[in-house]
């Protein structure tokens, strides 16, 4: 990215002053090297977000920002309905509420060794993954609507999981204000057999071990210790969320002239929060969030069942569940006053700092766990929201490594089979229905996650707690 229009205002903070119709500044939380690696389109997209009606404070880019749809991926923007603020499909993304959850076991790496291959096989045959897989659960009619209204709370009610899980999920496992009636029949048909499935692309279920601890105090607060085995689940709202995104993006493009809205990029199509279409989208989008939360909850239950076949007394307690494609109604300080705004986080994780009242009591002193997914060879990070992230970016942090290479380029350069063999030699078992899918998700196709996690901490967004290394990866 060309940095000539950016002003460095801190070691890890760069700013574009409002020009050419920008209502607020565009602020990048990154170091110079990460910025230079970003596509110029990230700058264009973030300054476009800063032009949207009703945006407050600034448009923010996270350290892992990359070129997205309208919004950059790794983009954060908050809009005030009282100031004509808008809601944007591109600011949420097609995979509504895509996110990560982390399960803490009381097993060590030693317990897994010797049974790793068997466990990988059992997980692979149990967890529906990849295109065309179905979960064995068929939802329609009232049951579908109940799931869309109830989220993970509905799933627990149906017997998938434990009531205690809900405390460890954003919004206690259920987005309020979901309106299943605004979700199209196409979206519901797409979801009919997809609940309890991992999906494809960069989605995964990984058995990992805690490889490194950066902050002992926070690790203890989160229940993390060295050599401990954990399970990460990364997936979203499946076909339903995608269809909601496609339906409403089209509707907002067509409806924009009625509201006198013109966009520099059709992908940025938005509609006033207070408009009928805005309210319908918010209701449908929240149903999409609930679908993702229910999905990750059901996958959690399946995972627990598999583990208990091997380790009957094992615990798999939920540390936390984060969503990184959302729009949420939150209260933040804007121009010295507390205001209710709609915070879009597209490829960005909510990162409430210590003391935030919305955190469960057990996590209130430490700050919110921020779960960062990596590629299959690199592993993941656990971070903790910092108090400074509120002023820095409406309490937001990064969400992953971001791609350094396109899928097509990765496919040209790597062989799925060889990646599988190389990782096996390093003690990592990768299971996937498609070797081409493995090649497209090659570890080298992703950016340096270590650097992104470090910069997130130094930028005051989220502090590093632990690094997780993969043992088994079930690829979607």
């Amino acid at each position: 990215m060309d940095l000539s229009s950016l002003v460095k205002v801190g070691e890890f903070c760069w700013r574009v002053e409002p020009v050419d119709g920008m209502r607020v500044p565009a602020i990048f939380h990154a170091d110079e090297a990460l910025l230079r690696d970003m596509d110029d389109k990230v700058l264009e997209q973030l300054t476009n977000v800063a032009r949207l009606p009703g945006i407050v404070r600034a448009a923010y880019a996270m350290p892992d920002a990359h070129w997205g749809y309208g919004f950059p991926i790794g983009g954060v923007g908050a809009f005030d309905p009282a100031a004509g603020g808008v809601v944007s499909v591109g600011g949420v993304g097609f995979d509504i509420s895509c996110g990560v959850r982390l399960l803490l076991t009381d097993l060590t790496r030693k317990d897994i060794e010797g049974r790793q291959r068997e466990l990988a096989e059992a997980l692979f045959t149990t967890i529906p993954a990849g295109l065309g897989s179905t979960g064995g659960i068929v939802l329609a009619g009232e049951d579908m609507d109940a799931m869309l209204a109830g989220g993970a709370a509905w799933a627990v009610q149906q017997g998938w999981g434990e009531p205690g899980d809900l405390e460890r999920i954003e919004e206690r496992g259920r987005a309020a204000g979901a309106r299943p009636e605004f979700v199209s029949e196409d979206a519901k048909r797409r979801q009919r057999k997809e609940i309890g499935t991992l999906g494809s692309g960069n989605h995964y279920l990984e058995v990992q071990h805690v490889g490194e601890i950066f902050d002992e105090r926070l690790a203890t607060a989160f229940g993390l210790n060295r050599r401990q085995v954990v399970v990460s689940i990364h997936c979203g709202s499946r076909g339903l969320g995608h269809q909601i995104g496609a339906d409403f993006l089209r509707a907002m493009v067509v409806d924009a002239p009625r509201h006198g809205l013109r966009f520099p990029d059709r992908e940025l199509a938005s509609t006033p929060i207070d408009s009928e279409l805005g309210q319908h989208y918010l209701g449908a989008m929240r149903a999409g969030i609930n679908c993702a939360l229910a999905n990750r909850q059901i996958l959690t239950d399946m995972t627990r069942q598999v583990f208990r076949r091997f380790f009957p007394d094992a615990r798999l307690d939920l540390l936390f569940d984060v969503s990184h494609n959302t729009c949420k109604e939150e209260t933040h300080e804007v121009d010295g006053a507390m205001r209710t705004v709609f915070v879009h986080r597209k490829g960005a994780t909510r990162a409430f700092g210590p003391g935030h009242p919305d955190l469960p009591p057990a996590l209130r002193a430490s700050g919110q766990p921020v779960l960062i997914g990596g590629s299959m060879g690199v592993g993941s990070y656990v971070l903790a929201g910092m108090a400074t992230s509120e002023a820095a970016a409406f309490s937001s942090a990064c969400h992953g490594a971001g791609r350094a290479m396109s899928r097509t380029q990765a496919l040209k350069q790597y062989s799925g089979r060889k990646i599988q063999d190389d990782l096996a030699a390093r003690g990592i078992i990768v299971k996937c229905a498609s070797t081409r899918g493995i090649a497209e998700e090659a570890p080298a196709a992703y950016k340096d996650l270590d650097r992104i996690a470090e910069v997130s901490e130094r930028a005051g967004l989220a502090a590093r707690v632990a690094r997780l290394k993969p043992l088994i990866c079930i690829k979607g």
């Binding site: 097609f94 295109l131 097509t408 899918g437």
Partner: protein, 156 residues
């Protein structure tokens, strides 16, 4: 179209060189589909082939069953968006893959028959699921050589 680091590439990354009828192109995190033809309808049909190629090799898909698809939109760009999304929805809902397309466009209305078969994971080895068509690089236009080009990036 210009090349940008980590973004679009001017050169096709996957194509059907014999016919020169369709190709995919690189996008930072996703992939673009592009169809050519002597008419918008033919370009749309070939964009459908490019869409299939994101998931599997179109040659591996047996065009056994026809699926009728109808859409209408105020302009060709939106019509392409609707056409590709209708295919994506049909692929997802009924676990289908398509290997041949017959498309007719009359004004704002598209009527098509997409020929395909149920997904067979072992045989088709699907690489990735397409989530939706997008407005990124969405364009239906006539190139200087007279050929129609229909393209957009799809989210995977």
């Amino acid at each position: 179209m210009t090349a940008a680091p980590g973004g679009f590439s001017a050169s096709p990354s996957c194509s059907n060189p014999a016919a020169g009828a369709w190709e995919t192109f690189a996008h930072g995190a996703d992939v673009g589909v592009r169809g050519f033809g002597s008419s918008p309808a033919e370009a749309f049909a070939n964009a459908g082939m490019a869409l299939t190629s994101v998931v599997t090799s179109p040659g591996a898909v047996r065009p056994i069953r026809p699926r009728v698809i109808r859409c209408s939109a105020p302009d060709l760009g939106l019509l392409l968006y609707d056409w590709l999304n209708a295919l994506i929805t049909a692929m997802a809902v009924d676990r289908l893959l398509f290997g041949r397309f017959e498309v007719e466009i009359d004004g704002q209305v598209l009527v098509a028959r997409a020929f395909g078969e149920p997904l067979d994971v072992a045989r088709h080895e699907p690489a990735v699921e397409v989530k939706g068509a997008t407005f990124t690089e969405l364009e239906v236009a006539r190139d200087p050589d007279g050929r129609w080009r229909a393209q957009c990036v799809v989210d995977v």
